[in-house]
């Protein structure tokens, strides 16, 4: 077995505060052949569930060369129905096998019963929660279940939401801070998600300047709670006279989000950063180009600090 790079699981922090990329199926071969310089790889945990097979073998080969972050989309940490324990067991098996540098999922719900039915369904999507005390209780309870099973801190990512939830009782930042402080989890800050939500709020006429709104969020976030940053592209759709910005992970990071990332680095310091790309994947070289841009910005901040 090839020796692995060491990682510290106990802190929930990635030791290398550099830049990584989301590693998806079309790039498995290219990356293993070229082994580009990257601080870490991030994969979707669910794509590697199971006891064996080719995909898991490829991940283990990648793990021999890079720290690996496991990013989940299926736990549904905000689900009133609770966490699916079979799903959690699959994740625990994968964590034991891969020894990831980070394990993360989202501030969302995914599962519950449809009206009049007893069976719990899974939406296959990240569905929004109100920033309410009740949602906080559910999140803290479920995050605790996951952390107890995995015996390590979880990272929890802020969401892009396309419908407005009723019953907000605090701001998103207050909500995330409270979640991290009460559960001991860390935060995965997706700057693109903040910007997408701000753009949609602006389209609804709720705020005048999306970039200023995100900068304000970055000003008030507690840097000590943030363990990773995500950067991705988004898309604007028009339908029936209504515009909506969708976090499709199918484009390069836009200039406004790059500017916000530069601002975040100044406010928050050195934090592991990921370039995410999930739909319409370009050649690996494009992702590496985006990662190099993020790394160059990080270096500039370090040099001027």
């Amino acid at each position: 077995m090839t020796a692995r790079l060491p990682v510290s699981a106990a802190s929930g922090l990635c030791e290398a505060a550099g830049v990584g990329i989301g590693w998806r199926h079309p790039h498995y071969g290219d990356l293993l052949e070229t082994l580009p310089s990257l601080a870490f790889l991030e994969v979707h945990s669910e794509n590697f569930f199971g006891a064996g097979g080719a995909a898991l073998a490829v991940l283990e080969r990648g793990r021999a060369h890079y720290p690996v972050s496991l990013h989940g989309v299926g736990l549904g940490l905000g689900s009133v129905a609770g966490v699916d324990l079979r799903h959690l067991e699959q994740l625990a098996m994968l964590v034991a096998r891969i020894e990831p540098c980070l394990v993360s999922d989202h501030v969302c719900f995914t599962r519950g019963a449809l009206p009049g039915q007893a069976t719990t369904v899974h939406a296959g999507d990240l569905l929004p929660l109100p920033f309410s005390r009740a949602a906080l209780e559910v999140l803290c309870r479920n995050v605790q279940v996951v952390q107890d099973r995995l015996r390590r801190p979880l990272l929890v990512e802020n969401l892009s939401a396309y419908v407005q939830c009723p019953g907000n009782e605090m701001t998103e930042v207050e909500f995330l801070h409270e979640l991290a402080r009460r559960s001991g989890c860390r935060l995965l800050l997706d700057i693109n998600n903040l910007y997408v939500n701000a753009r949609n709020a602006a389209l609804r006429g709720e705020l005048p300047d999306p970039q200023a709104a995100v900068r304000h969020t970055l000003d008030v976030l507690d840097p000590t709670l943030i363990a990773e940053i995500h950067l991705a592209g988004h898309n604007e759709v028009h339908d029936g006279g209504v515009h909506l910005v969708i976090d499709d992970h199918g484009q390069r990071v836009c200039d406004e989000v790059w500017a916000l990332y530069a601002y975040a680095r100044e406010q928050l310091g050195a934090i592991p950063t990921l370039i995410e790309w999930d739909t319409g994947l370009p050649p690996l070289a494009v992702l590496l180009d985006e990662a190099a841009r993020a790394a160059a910005m990080a270096n500039r901040v370090v040099q001027t600090a």
């Binding site: 669910e46 799903h87 939406a123």
Partner: protein
């Protein structure tokens, strides 16, 4: 729990159930009725947001099912496959967050669609075999032990047990399912039905498919039930073990021969 907390929990549960109901509503308008008050100022944005979630769910359904059923998709065509995927998502929703595990019920869903059965009577059988090929990809890995095959010449078959490759199974069909899957033939070339029994297994990491030999399904079933080689041969009259053995080893179907612990206890 205080009355106030219970009430907040109930409101959160109600919100989650309403959004799920909106995603599974038959039409966009019915979906919107789950969440928005008619005439409310944000109705247009709510409509667009729900539409985004609903179209994402539909895309997930097609993507997940397409990964498992490429031959079914080829046989029905992309538009019909999209409709079939949406129908399965609505009628038999995912129950877990690993969407690669969703879709096992496609064959059963096809069988309750009389027009599809009349048009493509072999489709449910093709779906059953494709699901077996898909679901074996994440089973635990197993290595062959060639040295153990010498036991076949040394021991009484009643004292031996066979270990088979992950995912080994047989599917009997009134239709040429193996030929269909291997060739992805067009409907026009399949007007004359001919029965085939598919044998599926995983060789290394690769799902494999071939025609089963006469008597092989009964033989493999007995082996997988843990019966001795002698007993398995007894349950499969007409099965030619000698003709089966060398190809089974070469194809990675037979992994090892072990002394039956029940006999050697």
């Amino acid at each position: 729990m205080s009355a106030q907390t219970a009430s907040a929990d109930t409101a959160l549960a109600r919100w989650q159930q309403s959004l799920l109901a909106a995603l599974w509503a038959p039409t966009h308008d019915e979906a919107l009725d789950q969440l928005a008050t008619p005439g409310a100022p944000d109705r247009n944005f709510m409509w667009r947001g729900i539409a985004a979630y609903r179209s994402h769910a539909a895309a997930q359904a097609v993507r997940s099912l397409g990964a498992a059923y490429p031959v079914v998709e080829y046989l029905v065509g992309p538009e019909n496959f999209e409709a079939l995927s949406r129908l399965l998502w609505r009628e038999r929703p995912p129950q877990g967050g690993d969407l690669a595990q969703w879709g096992a019920a496609l064959a059963a869903q096809i069988e309750v669609l009389p027009d599809l059965v009349a048009d493509l009577p072999f489709l449910a059988d093709v779906a059953r075999v494709e699901w077996a090929l898909h679901s074996m990809t994440t089973l635990g890995d197993a290595q062959a032990e060639p040295a153990s095959f010498a036991l076949l010449a040394q021991e009484d078959p009643e004292n031996l047990r066979l270990d088979l490759a992950p995912g080994t199974a047989c599917f009997s069909s009134a239709w040429p399912v193996v030929t269909l899957i291997e060739a992805q033939r067009s409907r026009s070339s399949l007007q004359v039905p001919s029965s085939e029994t598919a044998r599926v297994w995983r060789s290394g990491w690769r799902p494999r498919l071939c025609n089963a030999q006469p008597g092989e399904p009964a033989f493999l079933r007995a082996v997988q039930e843990g019966k001795s080689l002698g007993a398995a041969l007894g349950s499969a009259p007409g099965f030619d073990f000698n003709a089966w053995l060398a190809p089974a080893v070469q194809a990675g179907l037979l992994l090892r021969v072990v002394l039956n612990p029940a006999r050697h206890a």
